[in-house]
Amino acid sequence: MTEAMDLDPHPRSSLPKTKKSLPLTTLTLPPSTFSYAHLTLLSPSTVQLDPLQLKSYLTSALSQFLGQTGTAIPIDILSVSSSSAWVRLPRPDLAAFSAAIAAFPGISSGRERIVLKVEAAGDYLGALISRSKDGDDIWGP
């Protein structure tokens, strides 16, 4: 009887052990060359923003905070709407640029003051857009 119990009706040879899952491929994202920033214009009256106005505001902000090396930062204006803008700049300069915009006292004409605000800044444009109000419909309803 003990033999019968010892016998296994379905003797199983050693099962092949499941291998640990191996990665099929690996990819390391290199640091991106450019960074992107979403700027908003804050002004009491309705002041329309256009690319030249934006460029002059940025130049004024950068030259005040960072001098001539600040104005030498190559900034590409990607898109400008009436009150906001998207710009692209080299990645190492993003910190200095954000600080310059934050420290910018603005352009004051009379008693009104026009100020720029950095809504979002980062390395990947898709992530920034989808976070903003404009990008609600990018990733689906």
Binding site: L62, S63, Q64, F65, L66, G67, Q68, T69, G70, A96, A99, A100, A103
Partner: protein, 184 residues
């Protein structure tokens, strides 16, 4: 204890034209004496500091001038040798170095500012200043005696490793005596 680290810059002022009110001596001055001519003795450290601060503010804006302002000081100024020692904070000494490179005039006279030594301690910079002053005096003496001085200018423009060999040839032994740098 937090250590505040600084860098000490040894800077030469190099002029390219004879002094404006020099005596009317039409004889051409050698290049060595022309470039290293002394500055008028009414040059004050505050003038240099003001110029440097203005240049840093122009090049690097508010951020730059705030970064260097903490410990920017002229530690030693010698109008006779047109040399001064500048102290800057270690993290931002390149801003001041760049500003010195861009400065092209001192009180109206065109000149260039040449940084010849950077060190973390004042003592090494002093030793270098003494060594260069000694080389300059010896080379100037050779010039005035009319010896072939094709190498005199090179002596002062060459880098350190070659200068050590030249120092032995010219006759200086080493820094056995600490000459005081207080000239004023």
């Amino acid at each position: 204890m937090v250590r505040l680290k600084d860098r000490y810059l040894l800077v030469n002022i190099i002029y390219t034209s004879p002094p404006p009110h020099s005596s009317s001596s039409p004889s051409p001055v050698s290049d060595l004496l022309l470039y290293n001519q002394p500055t008028t003795s009414d040059l004050r450290p505050q003038t240099i500091l003001k110029d440097i601060r203005a240049e840093v503010s122009s090049l690097f804006g508010d951020c730059g001038s705030g970064a260097i302002d903490r410990s920017l000081q002229v530690k030693y100024l010698s109008p006779a040798t047109s040399t001064f020692i500048l102290r800057v904070s270690r993290a931002h000494f390149r801003l001041v170095w760049a500003a010195l490179t861009f400065m092209h005039a001192l009180r109206g006279r065109p000149c260039i500012f040449r940084v010849v030594r950077i060190s973390g301690t004042m003592r090494k910079v002093e030793q270098e200043a003494i060594r260069r002053a000694r080389l300059l005096v010896l080379a100037a003496k050779d010039e005035l005696k009319g010896k072939s001085s094709s190498d005199a200018l090179g002596v002062l423009l060459r880098s350190d490793s070659q200068q050590q060999r030249t120092l032995a040839i010219v006759g200086g032994q080493g820094d056995d005596d600490e000459e005081g740098l207080a000239e004023d």
